[in-house]
């Protein structure tokens, strides 16, 4: 009984720790006064300001564009690469997988500056393209890592069974292999999309020419101090995340699938 109570109190404290900062932001996004200490009455003006802020809107656009493109590209490359890797000999497979792990294991800042040195060395102007490439670079490993287990779980004769029943290798891939590993592909794509949306460090070093994303713009605003329109942005993002997660949770009812 006592144990139960302690557990409840402990979890409440943890959740308080997790949510208090966010809730403070939410509350103050409706605060008339610009100061965070005083309640100056309810307002939506920060939301209006947010939507008038062309930099933020542009950053939002780039964030989603890069997330969408990079997750699609990396899902396609990653899926086919995973199938290839799965069919390689032990040595080739191990070598590629170890290199594949580098962007996962290396600190983001190292991956970020390393890519930046590459782009600058080949005189590629930092901007949209370099940001997109850098996102694809760090997304593919996650797609491969989520597709490979599905390939391993698959009956090793699955492709042969399709060929045996008259399918050409292309049809076997399209009708059997891809559908069989689809859950892994979707997990990989979602992972790539979220990682891309949330990325700051790698984008920070690999963009320029006025192309930014949400994280970069929040960083530069926050460096200059607190701005109430960021509070409004946080509130909107919180609502989006909660709705999305509840939808996903309803569909899978499996919490384990929600790993970032």
């Amino acid at each position: 009984m006592v144990m139960k109570l302690i557990k409840k109190i402990y979890m409440s404290l943890i959740f308080l720790f997790l949510y208090a900062p966010i809730l403070v932001l939410v509350v103050f996004s409706f605060n008339e006064s610009k100061s965070r200490g005083q309640w100056g009455g309810f307002t939506l003006k920060w939301y209006a300001e947010l939507f008038r802020d062309r930099d933020i809107i542009k950053a939002l656009y780039y964030t989603f564009l890069v997330a969408l493109l990079s997750s699609i590209i990396s899902t396609i490359i990653g899926t086919f690469s995973a199938i290839g890797i799965h069919n390689m000999g032990l040595f080739g497979r191990k070598t590629i997988l170890n290199i594949n792990y580098l962007p996962v294991l290396n600190p983001d800042i190292v991956t970020g500056v390393a890519l930046m040195t590459l782009f600058v060395s080949i005189n590629l102007r930092l901007g949209f393209l370099t940001m997109l490439i850098s996102h694809v670079v760090f997304n593919i490993p996650y797609v491969i890592l989520s597709v490979l287990p599905k390939l391993r779980q698959m009956n090793k004769h699955m492709a042969e069974a399709a060929l045996d029943l008259g399918a050409t290798p292309f049809t076997a891939m399209k009708k059997v292999i891809i559908p069989e590993i689809m859950p892994g592909i979707i997990t990989g794509a979602l992972m790539a999309f979220t990682l891309s949306i949330d990325d700051f460090v790698i984008s920070f070093f690999n963009t320029g020419s006025g192309v930014t994303n949400l994280s970069i713009i929040i960083y530069s605003m926050a460096k200059r101090g607190v701005k109430p329109s960021i509070n409004a942005l946080s509130t909107l993002m919180l609502i989006t995340v909660v709705i999305l997660l509840l939808l996903i949770n309803k569909r899978t009812t499996k919490g384990d699938e929600l790993l970032p």
Partner: protein, 280 residues
């Protein structure tokens, strides 16, 4: 058949060569050279950048980065293990929702999460206003190391909880019953059976928290107010402000090596070393 399917991996071999191997090689090359990076022929071998690093100023920054990352990782473990344990023992119908609500914050933008703590901890932030309101003296947490540690724990706690939770939820119930059957009470079962079984989860949790913590420059910039420079800030400055790419590259190599050493150290503690595979 098999031989043809493996051809699908070859484009990616080229890809990783260009975008993973070459950049790291470039960083390594720049760290050991001096000269104009835009003019490759002007580059000459030099240990200047490493020499520059062995200075009490920079060594202190490296030391501080590891110290704060270590403290944060330790706090995440202490705070996170019970959370993982409680969620894994929760009734099936609550488990999903508990985990979900635990995960909501990490689905928020990382910068926003850090920014949220700025709003709370800054000198005229939420906490100090609250303290003033009830007539207490204000605290000077931010900018400062405490604020940086809070920011790290807040941001990376889920990375500690998830791997431990995953391992805990995979423990075969029969194993626990066997332990009870053999006369172990709950505490002994925990110490002798559950805890050892979760060591791989703890190891990957530690890695997943320590790595981003030791290399961060955002948290230290925003919550340290630019005063608490960490190795990440130092690298960032070399590449953006100082434009000393040679020194920046040397710092990156040093950071990588230090992390490699600490990871090797940790995986030694993990008996069945699965390498990176344990991460996910």
């Amino acid at each position: 058949m098999k031989n043809k399917a493996k051809l699908l991996a070859y484009p990616y071999v080229v890809w990783i060569a260009i975008f993973i191997i070459v950049p790291l090689v470039l960083v390594l090359v720049y760290s050991f050279t001096e000269g104009n990076i835009h003019n490759p022929s002007s580059l000459t071998f030099s240990l200047k950048s490493y020499d520059k690093f062995f200075n009490i100023l920079y060594l202190n920054i490296l030391w501080k980065s590891f110290k704060l990352a270590f403290i944060s990782t330790f706090l995440c473990l202490i705070l996170g293990y019970p959370v993982a344990l409680i969620i894994s023992k929760a009734k099936a119908k609550y488990k999903g929702i508990l985990l979900l609500f635990f995960l909501v914050p990490i689905w928020m933008n990382f910068l926003l999460r850090t920014y949220a703590w700025m709003a709370i901890l800054s000198p005229n932030g939420f906490i100090n206003r609250l303290l003033q309101l009830i007539g207490l003296p204000t605290l000077a947490i931010m900018p400062g190391q405490t604020a940086v540690v809070i920011g790290m724990v807040y941001n990376f706690l889920p990375f500690m909880v998830l791997p431990i939770y995953t391992v805990l939820s995979k423990i075969d119930k029969n194993v626990l019953e066997a332990a009870m059957d053999l006369g172990a009470n709950k505490i002994i079962t925990f110490i002798k059976v559950i805890f050892p079984l979760t060591v791989p989860g703890i190891i990957s949790g530690i890695t997943m928290v320590f790595m981003p913590a030791v290399s961060t420059f955002v948290i230290s910039q925003l919550l340290g107010g630019g005063k608490e420079l960490l190795i990440g800030n130092l690298i960032e400055q070399q590449f953006t402000v100082q434009r000393d790419w040679h020194f920046g590259s040397a710092l990156s190599i040093i950071l990588m090596i230090m992390i490699l050493i600490s990871m090797a150290f940790m995986s030694k503690a993990d008996k069945d070393d699965e390498g990176g595979a344990a991460l996910w």
